[in-house]
Each structure stands twice: as structure tokens, then as C-alpha cells.
């Protein structure tokens, strides 16, 4: 669906995007992660045809973005990180305006707008003025706007930024729905756990370069030699620790009150063997899982500790 090859964007002497190369498959949800100034927004604006690259190419469905921006605008739905709304315009009029801007006929607009407002759960606000909506509602309306021409690719630049937890959950629900509809979504965010949950793959960008790409687990496995495993025996924690310490690739076994955590440096096969040894030793196991949620640690490791 999307191929970026050797993308470079210079602002004078400053290089915002530095030979960025990546590919996103159709139907996938790709998370763009990186510290401030990493080049995420610049890359997304180039993808949307709002900015042109100094060199390199962005291909969407084998069509070069910079050479055919108008043709590609039919395929792309773009939601910027910061956007405003018009005064004195109602929700349906706002949607109608953008439907007109995408060349949709008057007859077709009504059902499309109703359907989109239903998806983003704003049907009950259709006769309200846009500037009277809450921040979360405006974000959802902007998302609906970006879908008005039924694009194949959605480019969403920090759609959940500045929203309260409830509004974030609502946006996430809409994105899940869009994912189920088969849309390819590229989304940038600073909220790493949320991205990890909803994205099929993650691209970590640092100083304009692609630092890592793959599924969350792939990235963590590739970049982190150690994996934290959490084990919760029903009882006999002491004996479980003893067995774990005898296994290869295990170090730093930490005992908690009712469970155990350890660092593991082996492969998945070797990890399954650890579980097998515990079961053979007749230790009842309630839970045996890899600890999640340390994506931020990996991120900090990749980006050299730059804050996000």
C-alpha cells in the first residue's frame, strides 16, 4: 500500500527526515513513534501531499505522491495534529462542505454524512455548531471528515493528543472499527501502550531515521536481549525459584510474595522448555507470561534516552 524510499526533507541546513525507507502493507495499522522533532509530522505531511520531499519517493498503490498529489488525495484521508474548525457552521454543514470539496454530489452526501456521524458517534450532535463541540468531539468530527470520500489510507497525526482518557478510548474504538473495515491506517502518537495495543506494526523514528520497524513483540525481541517473564505458581514458590535458577538463559530471578519474575535471554522454544520443567516438577502454575508494557523502555533504549 505505502512505500517510502530514501525520503529526505531538509529545512535549510536542518535535516528533518534523513533517508527514511519503510513499507506498510494494505489493511495494517502502523504506529509512528518517535520523540518530538523526530520527523513524524513532516513524513506524514509529505505522505498527504502537503509538503514535498527534498529527495526520495513516497509511493501509494504504486503511484508517486509528489507527482500526482491530486489523484492521491482521493485515496488518502488526512487528520493533522493541530486543526481548527469554522465558526457559525453546524456539524452537518461542516461535513457537507468537505464532501463538496471532495467532489461528492449533493444527492450522495446525505447518507454518507449520516453514516460517518454514526461511526464516530456524533449523530446526536448533527445540528450543533462545530465550535460548540468538546475537544474529543472535534477530534472525532475531524476523523469523520477525513473519511468523507472513503479513502483507502488514513494518515492520522496524533489523533488522541490532548484528550481525556474517556475521549481517548472513544477514538480508539472508532479506529478499531475502521481497522475492521479494512482501512490501512498510519497513526502517530506519544502514548506508546495504546499504540502497542492497536497497531499491527510499529515504526520507531529518531532524528529523521527509521530506528526499528515490526510488530511490537518483534521490535522488543530484536532490540532487547532480555525478556521479563512472569510466573505465578499456585503454591510452592520457593521450589519454583530453585527450578528456574537451574535452567539455562535465566538470570535475575526476583521473588515477589506470590509470584516470580525472571530475565530470559533464550528463544521461544527454550522458554517453552522452562515451563515444561516446572510442570514436570509438578508445580501448579496459574500464570506463565511474558511481561508487557516495557515498550517505553525499549523506545528509550532506541532513541538514546530522549524523552517523549
Amino acid at each position: 500500500m505505502l512505500k517510502i524510499d530514501g525520503l529526505v526533507k531538509n529545512y535549510g541546513k536542518f535535516t528533518a527526515v534523513d533517508h527514511l525507507t519503510l513499507a506498510v502493507e494494505k489493511g495494517s495499522v502502523c504506529g509512528f513513534v518517535g520523540p518530538n522533532g523526530a520527523g513524524k509530522t513532516t513524513t506524514m505531511r509529505i505522505m498527504a501531499g502537503l509538503l514535498n520531499a527534498t529527495s526520495g519517493s513516497v509511493m501509494i498503490d504504486e503511484v508517486e505522491v509528489t507527482k500526482n498529489p491530486r489523484v492521491l488525495r482521493e485515496k488518502i484521508g488526512y487528520m493533522p495534529d493541530f486543526f481548527g474548525v469554522y465558526d457559525n457552521l453546524k456539524v452537518t454543514e461542516y461535513m457537507d462542505f468537505f464532501a463538496g470539496a471532495y467532489g461528492i454530489s449533493y444527492k450522495e452526501r446525505g447518507p454518507i454524512i449520516d453514516n460517518l456521524l454514526e461511526i464516530v458517534d456524533l449523530s446526536h450532535k448533527k445540528d450543533f455548531y462545530v465550535d460548540s463541540l468538546s475537544r474529543g468531539m472535534k477530534q472525532r468530527l475531524c476523523l469523520a471528515r477525513s473519511l468523507v470520500h472513503d479513502p483507502e489510507l488514513l494518515i492520522l497525526d496524533e489523533p488522541a493528543s490532548g484528550l481525556d482518557p474517556r475521549a481517548r478510548v472513544e477514538i480508539k474504538e472508532v479506529l478499531k472499527q475502521l481497522q475492521e473495515m479494512g482501512k490501512t491506517i498510519i497513526i502517530s502518537s506519544h502514548i506508546l501502550p495504546e499504540l502497542a495495543e492497536m497497531c499491527t506494526e510499529i515504526c520507531i523514528i529518531n532524528q529523521g531515521k527509521l530506528a526499528a520497524q515490526g510488530s511490537v513483540q518483534e521490535i522488543m525481541q530484536k532490540l532487547s536481549q532480555k525478556r521479563m517473564i512472569h510466573v505465578q505458581p499456585l503454591n510452592d514458590v520457593e521450589r519454583a525459584i530453585q527450578i528456574l535458577k537451574e535452567q539455562p538463559f535465566i538470570r535475575a530471578v526476583v521473588e515477589n510474595t506470590r509470584d516470580v519474575e525472571f530475565e530470559f535471554t533464550g528463544t521461544n522454544d527454550q522458554l517453552s522448555n522452562v515451563l515444561k520443567q516446572l510442570i514436570l516438577a509438578e508445580i501448579p502454575i496459574l500464570s506463565f507470561k511474558e511481561k508487557e508494557g516495557n515498550l517505553e523502555e525499549v523506545f528509550m533504549q532506541i532513541t538514546g534516552g530522549e524523552s517523549i
Binding site: V8, N10, T15, D18, H19, R45, A48, G49, L50, L51, N52, A53, T54, S55, T66, P69, R70, R73, E74, I76, Y78, P80, F82, F83, G84, V85, Y86, D87, N88, L89, E93, F97, F98, G100, A101, Y102, G103, S105, Y106, C142, R145, H149
Partner: protein, 295 residues
């Protein structure tokens, strides 16, 4: 299909109070002008009567007020068209649609022009006082409306252009007023200074003509000359000029025609430039010349 930008502007502009305030101010100025004219005419006349023949001067007074108001209001109405979209952070949302930059600029300009037309049409009842007494035909009034609209078109085009360059609406408005000031007074100074230094009979007619064609004020009074059958502009600027030929003789008497053509050309050029300025593809052409990046 109607230009979506024009449609949206039509909906939103009439919902706010600003345009109603502008319309009220505009009409009150025109009406006040007419009242003052009648008052002074009657007060200064013998036996406090009104001479119907003097109503042609009312036409000139109303036309002058209209021109002045258009020159003042068009930059204020149009100079925020694109910079306002930037300030509101809605320009990107427009640029990612299928609308071309030219459609966006034209939609913005037409919405301002539509409001200017509304202002002009709303003053027709005031102009109708002139029809009541006769002296001026409907053709003359329509020509004056066309002249005012071309002035609005040129100033609107220039305003949209500056609006594309500068992010702040205030800066755009200031620059349009400066530009208009140069057109109105700068060009006049370019003619009057050499006239004062070298004398009336030492100026080239063609040079004076070139300097005065961009001047909206001289263009307006040239039109008034034409409609009233007077020859004031020609007498002041061209009568004693040197290097006359059949074209300059015609042009001196019909400066307003050349001025309208000038306004249409300048307005169109600035609109085209404005469309180019907001077009992201334009940037592509520039950036291709950017220095090579480090490897």
C-alpha cells in the same frame, strides 16, 4: 456544482454580526452623505430651495463615497481570507481535498465580491434619489457599478495575494492599504512633482498616462468626466503635455476604460500568484533545487 468555499462562506458570513455591522455602517455613510448634500444645497441656495439640476453633484458625491468605502472595506474583508484559514489551522484541511488552490482562492475572492455586490445593491435606493430628479441615466449608474466592482476585484486579488504570503491577517491588511495608498497618492505624486518642478508644458503625455492609469481616484474622476460631459482630468493632466497622438488624445479622455482594463489584469495576475503561493506543488519545484543531503 457551486464552489464549496464560496457556499460555506455564504452560509457562515451571514450568520455572524460582522457583515451586518459593515452593511449598516456602509448604508449609514451613504445616507449621511446624501442628507448633508441636500442640507448644504438648500441652506446655501437663494430662498432655501433645492435646484433639481444640482442633483448630478449628488450622484458624484454618492459615487465618491461609494468608491472610498469600497477601497477601505475590500482589503478588510479579503485580506484575512487565506491568513485567516492559517490562523484557524484549517488551510491544510482544505489543501488535502480535491479542490485546486485556484478554486480555493477564487472561492474566497468571490465570497468577498458577493458581499461587495450586496453592499452596492443595498445602496441603490439611495442612488434612486438621483433617478427621481432625472439628470443621470441607468446606464451611467450601471457603468459606475461595473467600475466599482472592477476596483473591488483588483483590491480583492491583491488582498488575497498578501493573505497568502503573511500568516497574520493584520499584516496583510496593512500591506494592502499601503499598496492602495501608493496607487492612489504615489502615482499622483509621480505626476504632480515633475509638473511642479518642470512646468505643465514640459511633461510627456504618454509618461503621464502610464503613471495615471493605475490610479483609482483619477480613473473614477475620468469616468465622472465622461458621464457629466466635463473634461477636468484631461485639462489638469494632459492639456499642455507634449508628444500627443491620436491614441493619447483618446486615452486622456477615456482614462477610466484603461483603468478598468488595468484593474482586471492586475487582479487576475495577483489571483494567479496567490493560487501558486498556496499550492504545495510549487514548493516541490523549488525544493528540487535544494542542496544535496548528507549521507
Amino acid at each position: 456544482m457551486m464552489n464549496p468555499v464560496l457556499r460555506r462562506e455564504a452560509i457562515t458570513s451571514l450568520r455572524g454580526w460582522k457583515n451586518f455591522a459593515v452593511l449598516t455602517f456602509y448604508l449609514s455613510m451613504m445616507t449621511t452623505g446624501a442628507i448633508i448634500f441636500f442640507y448644504t444645497s438648500v441652506y446655501q441656495s437663494y430662498r432655501f430651495t433645492f435646484d433639481p439640476q444640482s442633483v448630478v453633484y449628488l450622484y458624484i458625491v454618492l459615487g465618491s463615497i461609494q468608491m472610498a468605502l469600497i477601497v477601505l472595506s475590500v482589503p478588510a474583508l479579503t485580506a484575512g481570507s487565506i491568513s485567516g484559514e492559517r490562523e484557524r489551522q484549517t488551510l491544510d484541511l482544505l489543501l488535502v481535498t480535491k479542490l485546486s488552490p485556484f478554486s480555493i482562492v477564487i472561492g474566497k475572492l468571490l465570497s468577498s465580491m458577493a458581499f461587495v455586490l450586496l453592499l452596492i445593491v443595498s445602496t441603490l435606493p439611495v442612488f434612486s434619489i438621483v433617478f427621481y430628479f432625472g439628470s443621470v441615466g441607468i446606464g451611467s449608474v450601471l457603468t459606475l457599478v461595473c467600475f466599482t466592482l472592477t476596483t473591488a476585484f483588483m483590491l480583492g486579488g491583491i488582498s488575497v495575494f498578501f493573505s497568502c504570503i503573511y500568516k497574520k491577517t493584520v499584516v496583510s491588511i496593512m500591506l494592502v492599504y499601503i499598496f492602495t495608498g501608493i496607487l492612489c497618492f504615489g502615482t499622483l505624486l509621480l505626476v504632480l512633482l515633475p509638473m511642479a518642478v518642470r512646468g505643465y508644458d514640459q511633461l510627456s503625455t504618454i509618461s503621464t498616462l502610464i503613471k495615471l492609469i493605475p490610479n483609482p481616484g483619477v480613473g473614477f474622476f475620468s469616468l465622472m468626466d465622461n458621464q457629466m460631459g466635463t473634461n477636468i482630468v484631461n485639462d489638469v493632466f494632459f492639456e499642455n503635455g507634449i508628444g500627443k497622438n491620436s491614441f493619447t488624445l483618446w486615452a486622456a479622455k477615456n482614462l477610466w476604460v484603461l483603468h478598468m482594463v488595468f484593474q482586471l489584469v492586475i487582479g487576475s495576475v495577483f489571483i494567479a500568484l496567490a493560487a501558486g503561493l498556496i499550492n504545495p506543488v510549487r514548493e516541490h519545484k523549488q525544493k528540487n533545487k535544494a542542496p544535496k543531503t548528507k549521507k
